[in-house]
């Protein structure tokens, strides 16, 4: 059994596209995820430390994230504020920074850890060498309800928030908050072209049925 030590997937790697900011939520905490032009991925508390505006509506300029309200600039990696337009010739105080969370890219997903001492070495090892990431499904229902309906589809726990169906599909559960869940998926083996699209569609269809059942039950 794999203990996830606070590491959760929040987005597919290929979806954290350049010059974009992903808006995610993990255990009630909103996270802004963005990639600089060098490829480095950032996962920050989704709130500018100045006046609390969501960084996910900000501008990813390829090097820095700029808050939409007053245009404060935050450096990729450290989250350090590097420029305050209202005081252009002054260096912002060191204490002004966006709050970065632990972040890693594994198995085609961006993983985030909200904890203080997040250790990348503790991202769950799934034992997969070749894999295909599937469409992530949002469900307006609590984790337990989703897991229950997934169990009916043959998915059994294989770790904290990790389920497997014994025929090559691994599901990774991202609890957004007490009433919302995202189910990420991996199929063992690397598939291409038409076969891949067919796999993606099949998975999407069956998880959508699980979603609908879980939401009907939660209503």
């Amino acid at each position: 059994m794999e203990n996830n030590k606070g590491w959760f997937p929040v987005a597919r790697v290929e979806e954290v596209v350049p010059r974009h900011v992903v808006q995610a939520q993990l255990m009630g905490q909103e996270v802004a995820i963005w990639r600089d032009d060098q490829g480095q991925v950032n996962a920050w508390e989704n709130r500018c430390p100045h006046r609390g505006v969501r960084l996910s509506i900000g501008i990813n300029d390829g090097k820095e994230l700029r808050c939409r309200y007053h245009g404060w600039h935050y450096a990729s990696g450290s989250g350090q504020c590097t420029f305050i337009p209202a005081h252009p010739s002054q260096k912002p105080a060191n204490v002004i920074k966006a709050k970065p969370y632990g972040v890693a890219e594994r198995y085609g997903f961006v993983w985030v850890n909200l904890g203080e001492d997040a250790d990348i070495a503790e991202v769950p090892a799934l034992g997969l060498n070749a894999f295909t990431t599937l469409r992530s499904i949002y469900v307006a229902a609590p984790v337990a309800a989703v897991a229950g309906h997934l169990a009916e589809q043959g998915f059994a726990p294989a770790g904290d928030f990790i389920l497997e169906n014994g025929s090559g599909t691994t599901l990774l559960i991202q609890p957004m908050d007490s009433g919302q869940t995202i189910v990420h998926g991996l199929a063992a083996g690397e598939v291409d072209g038409a076969e891949r699209l067919a796999l993606l569609r099949r998975h999407n269809t069956s998880l959508t049925e699980v979603r609908d059942a879980a939401e009907r039950a939660a209503a």
Binding site: H20, E30, I59, D61, R68, R135, S136, Q180, L197, R201
Partner: protein, 214 residues
């Protein structure tokens, strides 16, 4: 010059301002006092559009109402590339019409919610929000699979069409009606792509994709 009967804060009027800006078509805005004046229901305007709705265009005597219809007309008449509304391509025109209808459904839900929350229109707000979320799920799934096939737009791989313009505004303004887009990452990527179309212009409530300055 095309006359556009317009209201600054109307997403439907913005669809036309947006496409005309992209196509480089000059137009004259005739601003109606939608709020608080309800000028769109005044006798003089009802003579122009008996439905009492904005937008309407008057192109040198050719008068047309309905944002989606006007988008089709403008693309047909003023797009030399023929890419915004491809002529003589039945499947493509069918797809576009499908998504123009979808845009109308977005107006009936997300725009209604926005009018309720902002201007206190009498709307069944729970139904409007639930309706918008149901549509956004369909849209997110469609866009996600389109991306998997290398397509950036609602109806075509290489170029946006009037369908993208029609669906964009009330999706982008959905939070004003209490409809948040966090569950729809493919929609969020698509709205960024729409904002980067050359000639893109904003309306109040919508921000540009990139900083104007370096």
């Amino acid at each position: 010059m095309i006359k556009l009967y317009d209201f600054e804060l109307s997403g439907n009027c913005y669809k036309l301002r947006l496409l005309m800006n992209i196509l480089g078509v000059k137009f004259e805005r005739i601003a109606l006092d939608f709020y608080p004046g309800r000028e769109h229901r005044s006798p003089w305007f009802l003579k122009i559009n008996p439905l009492g709705q904005l937008p309407v265009i008057d192109d040198d005597g050719f008068v047309l109402r309905d944002a989606q219809a006007i988008l089709v007309y403008l693309a047909g008449k003023y797009d030399p590339s023929g890419l915004w509304y491809p002529q003589g391509a039945a499947e493509m025109q069918g797809r576009i019409a499908q998504w123009l209808g979808f845009a109308d459904a977005i107006t009936a839900t997300a725009s209604a919610a926005r009018l309720h929350d902002g201007l206190f229109y009498d709307v069944d707000i729970d139904k409007a929000r639930a309706g918008a979320h149901a549509l956004f799920r369909v849209l997110d799934e469609h866009l996600w699979f389109a991306e998997q096939e290398g397509q950036d737009w609602l109806c075509s791989s290489g170029h946006p069409t009037v369908a993208d313009i029609a669906c964009f505004p009330y999706v982008m303004l959905s939070e004003e009606g209490g409809i948040n887009r966090l569950p729809y990452p493919a929609i969020r990527r698509w709205t960024d792509r729409v904002k980067r179309i050359p000639g893109f212009t904003v309306m109040p409530g919508i921000f540009p994709a990139d900083a104007v300055s370096v």
